[in-house]
């Protein structure tokens, strides 16, 4: 940022100064006066093509490093689900605690937001953290940040989404980890744990009849699937992230696991975004050695890989 600003300032000031200087120095003093016929200079042209190009490449490289880092979340994050809909934000903490237009996070911890939209495109943006990401209906986007200072910060919807776009915002509250844990346990009574809710859905929607945990069902076992590389029928592999799990629920035929038949029906239109998130949370909690979902505290049973 400083780098680009300095370079821009340098060129901005230098060129403006040159123009102003020439403007006065070479003003017309005689009505019939001509300028000196200079047609061009190959060396100058080359210089001002090559130098800006090199400078631009350094800017690009710096921006690229930051961006790649931003798009690839670190491991061991605190995963929070955020759903945008016209015109409000719903966030769901790992414990199942739901918030509307509020988001509480502990300081000093990498937080990953998994973003889903129920209608149009939104954008979750926290200017104070220098982060934002579009929330696109039909697939998940993720973003992450590590809050470094306790406080309350604005968040906005940054992608125009209709009538009350400008009212679709709220506050991120960054708390000390202990305060955060206390807040979670204090407020979480009566809230449904997403993993438990997902487990119930897993049974209700009859997923459990095929996805046997010992791998002998008509469908692959889902133990430890999250984060693993999955071999597909067409020979390619994919990493089973949230997006893949979501797609497998809604578009089961899109990516068939090698060795299995495309038998699974689609659940498109039969589950809300929230139910899909719960089911995803449950599937993520299924590790190779099943871990009981504790559902409290800041060390969730999710996302550990």
């Amino acid at each position: 940022m400083v780098y680009i600003t300095l370079i821009s300032l340098f060129f901005g000031v230098a060129i403006t100064a040159a123009i102003v200087y020439f403007f006065f120095k070479y003003r017309r003093t005689h009505p019939e006066q001509l300028g000196v016929p200079i047609h061009g200079d190959m060396r100058l042209e080359t210089a001002w093509i090559v130098v800006p190009a090199l400078l631009a490449m350094t800017m690009f490289a710096w921006g690229a490093v930051v961006y790649v880092d931003y798009r690839r979340a670190p491991v061991d994050t605190l995963d929070i689900y955020v759903i945008g809909k016209q015109w409000m934000w719903k966030a769901q903490q790992p414990t199942g605690l739901k918030e509307i237009n509020e988001l509480h996070v502990p300081v000093g911890r990498d937080v990953k937001l998994i973003l889903a939209s129920e209608d149009v495109i939104h954008d979750f943006s926290v200017p104070a953290f220098r982060v934002k990401m579009d929330v696109v209906p039909g697939h998940y986007n993720t973003m992450w940040f590590r809050p470094t200072k306790v406080g309350r910060y604005h968040f906005f919807c940054s992608q125009y989404c209709g009538t009350n776009h400008s009212l679709m915002g709220g506050w991120v509250t960054v708390m000390e980890p202990t305060d955060y844990a206390a807040w979670l346990s204090g407020a979480s009574e009566g809230n449904e744990n997403p993993v438990l809710a997902g487990e119930k859905l897993f049974a209700d929607k009859a997923c459990i009849t095929c996805h046997l945990s010992d791998g002998r069902g008509r469908a692959p076992s889902l133990n430890g699937v999250y984060g693993a590389k999955v071999l597909l029928a067409d020979g390619s592999t994919v990493t089973a992230d949230e997006g893949y799990i979501r797609e497998s629920i809604l578009e089961p035929k899109a990516k068939i696991v090698a060795g299995y038949q495309p038998l699974m029906p689609s659940f498109q239109g039969q589950m809300t975004e929230e139910q899909i998130l719960n089911l995803t949370a449950y599937i993520k909690s299924l590790q190779s050695q099943p871990v009981p979902a504790t559902g409290s505290g800041i060390a969730p049973a999710t996302g550990k890989k």
Partner: protein, 217 residues
């Protein structure tokens, strides 16, 4: 209005006028390439996302009508090319014959197309309107096959619209041709409308495999 064969004021020679018109037509066709290109792009992405469902859906459209239409349209391109040749060598009677043949083949194409559309209507395959892919099809199949049929109707519909415009242009050409307006020196309208007609043929040459053929087996 002007008489055909006249040199317009802004040009210096007939040769310049002819070249200008031809270049203009080609540039217009290049915009048409990009115009249809947007739809081909939409098709490419959706097909690559849902290959199986697109292949399911493409099996329900009538291959034989499509194949016959391909033959009809290529034949009309041949007659159009022959019409251009007739005008170049000054065979005025033959020109009219070939133009009429082209028009007739074009109308046959549109007729067959409307039979196809009617089939789709009967099968409830018109997206957004009483849509039902197959009895008992699940929600996602119903949704994604609608993507296919939306593209099918948009692409073939826009193509058919171009055919109708072409037929209109042919009618005008036939009128002029009967009056004997076209000579080896002045046949730019025949050549340019010919280019347009061939372009519409090319679009179909791609639509046919994309919509009817791929992964049909």
């Amino acid at each position: 209005m002007h008489r055909t064969g006249e040199l317009f004021g802004q040009y210096k020679t007939l040769e310049q006028q002819r070249e200008t018109a031809s270049l203009g037509m080609w540039i217009f066709l290049s915009t048409e390439v990009l115009f249809f290109g947007g739809m081909f792009m939409t098709y490419t992405l959706n097909r690559s996302t849902y290959p199986d469902i697109f292949s399911e859906a493409s099996k329900t459209i009538n291959l034989w009508l499509g194949a016959v239409n391909t033959v009809v349209l290529i034949a009309s391109s041949l007659t159009m090319a022959m019409a251009v040749w007739s005008s170049q060598v000054g065979k005025k009677k033959l020109l009219t014959v070939f133009l009429v043949a082209t028009l007739v083949l074009g109308c046959v194409f549109l007729g067959i197309k409307s039979v196809e559309y009617h089939e789709k209507y009967v099968e409830h395959h018109i997206p957004g309107w009483n849509y039902q892919f197959e009895p008992g099809a699940d929600v996602s199949t119903n949704a994604h096959t609608q993507l296919f049929f939306s593209l099918y109707f948009a692409m073939t519909g826009l193509h058919a619209l171009h055919m109708i415009v072409g037929a209109g242009l042919l009618l005008w050409l036939i009128r002029q041709s009967i009056r004997g307006r076209f000579t080896p020196e002045y046949n730019t309208p025949v050549e340019n409308i010919g280019l347009y007609w061939h372009f519409v043929d090319i679009v179909w040459i791609f639509l046919f495999p994309l919509l009817y053929l791929i992964d049909r087996h």
